[in-house]
Amino acid sequence: MDIGETPETSFALRRFSAFAYRQKTDRGETSYLQILASTKARLGDIVGATEIIGELSGTSADFAHMGIAEEWAWRGSIAEAMTAASQISDTRLRDSTLREIALNRTDKINLSDSLEAINKIDDSPARSEALATLALEQAQNGNPAVFHTLERWHASFEGASEFAKDARGTIAVTYGLLGEFEQARQVLDTLPDPESRTWPLWNLTSFLASRGRTQEAIDLANQEESAQPKLHALLGTAQGILDRVSQPKDSTNESFSK
């Protein structure tokens, strides 16, 4: 974790702990114990957090399990992270925790761990979005595993219609980051409503123009009929041109290959 336990946090936690247990004893109030358990988990004290869970019941322990799951994921212990996540009773919170595990930004979790966590997400749109976001982050980090993730996304969700539209925008931008603009456009063409095209168009036109493919960016903007995505396509084109002007002359925008 970023901070870890320091003498000051230990002192504050001891005082808060006494208060939280007193609230449960005197008033049956467990919300402070929930906060205490989550805090301990985030400070890396998984044993302490687990002990407090014994004082909680049902959904009131969910946030503590979430904190523990994320701490295990941060340490790279995927099996323990998944076990802790499986204890979360609220489906949406469990899905959100699994997403966090999958997209964990440490280098300690590999692609199969991430995919395993995503596969356990119950809600289909959330699963689609998590997989698309994983691909985008891999593309941003120059991770060649992005191509495998994209294949997985297509295999699982390409036919899915309405619910996957946000994820499809993310997939289009991922292809743009990879320099694969034809595929990006194909995905973009499947986005039916103007609002869902705005963000991907903004990014794609910017990527195109910054690579010197300004006319293609302008064509995308011209083809767009709705004002909001059109405005952002023009904005993205301008941004891309300006990015190119401020780049060192000999810099290139090579995409990385499969």
Binding site: T133, W199, H232, L235, A238, I241, L242, R244, S246, Q247
Partner: protein, 213 residues
């Protein structure tokens, strides 16, 4: 991470003056050409001028669409276009875009965006001047804060501290300075952190004196 292209929401407030009424002349120097990249001068000037002109055209075309997009998106769009117009060496149109919606809130967002870009291109004096021409508000304080943060992140402690001096709400200043000091600590600049913290202590002492009067 939803947006790759960050939406700059630097909140300022309503300026009382039009660009032509500003008491200090707008700089004719183009910030992007004297940016830290330092590569532009090595290129063919005509090519750069053409690209800047093309970017400006795109932005002005985009601006013409602003009333056709949902109202809830107009302010941020205007702010983003204003900021990019600064990059395109067109401060006059950047300021005109800030005022395009004729709404104080929209102008506030856009003025903060313009100032942020100017600081990005090391024209802090111009940025601070523009913010000073806007009316006092929490929004303007937020713009000063973001500028101070940017300057202190870059290691320019003196100008960063100067920007915080314009923040009108004293209760925020000490808090902001403490956070900025931690930025310098993380950057390994203990000396700079100490100077920023000294600034925070001064603000605290001044505030105590003010209260005891």
């Amino acid at each position: 991470m939803r947006r790759l292209l960050a939406v700059l929401v630097v909140v300022g407030c309503l300026s009382q003056e039009t660009p032509s009424q500003l008491s200090r002349p707008i700089s004719s120097e183009c910030p992007i050409l004297k940016s830290s990249h330092g590569s532009a001068e090595t290129r063919d000037q005509a090519d750069i001028d053409e690209q800047l002109s093309q970017a400006r055209q795109m932005l002005l075309k985009a601006r013409a669409l602003i009333h056709d997009i949902p109202e809830s998106h107009q302010e941020v769009a205007a702010a983003n276009m204003s900021g990019q117009l600064v990059r395109a060496c067109d401060l006059t149109d950047a300021l005109a875009t800030a005022r395009y919606l004729k709404k104080p809130e929209a102008e506030a967002f856009a003025m903060g965006s313009i100032a942020w870009q100017l600081v990005n291109y090391r024209d802090t004096t111009q940025a601070l001047f523009l913010l000073q021409t806007t009316a006092e508000s929490q929004s303007r304080d937020a713009s000063y804060e973001s500028i101070a943060r940017k300057l202190i992140e870059k290691g320019d402690v003196d100008q960063g501290l100067e920007a915080t001096h314009f923040i009108k709400d004293p209760s925020r200043v000490a808090d902001i300075l403490i956070r900025l000091a931690s930025l310098r600590t993380h950057a390994g600049d203990q000396l700079g952190a100490g100077r920023v913290l000294a600034g925070a202590l001064r603000v605290g002492r001044d505030s105590d004196k003010e209260r005891s009067r």
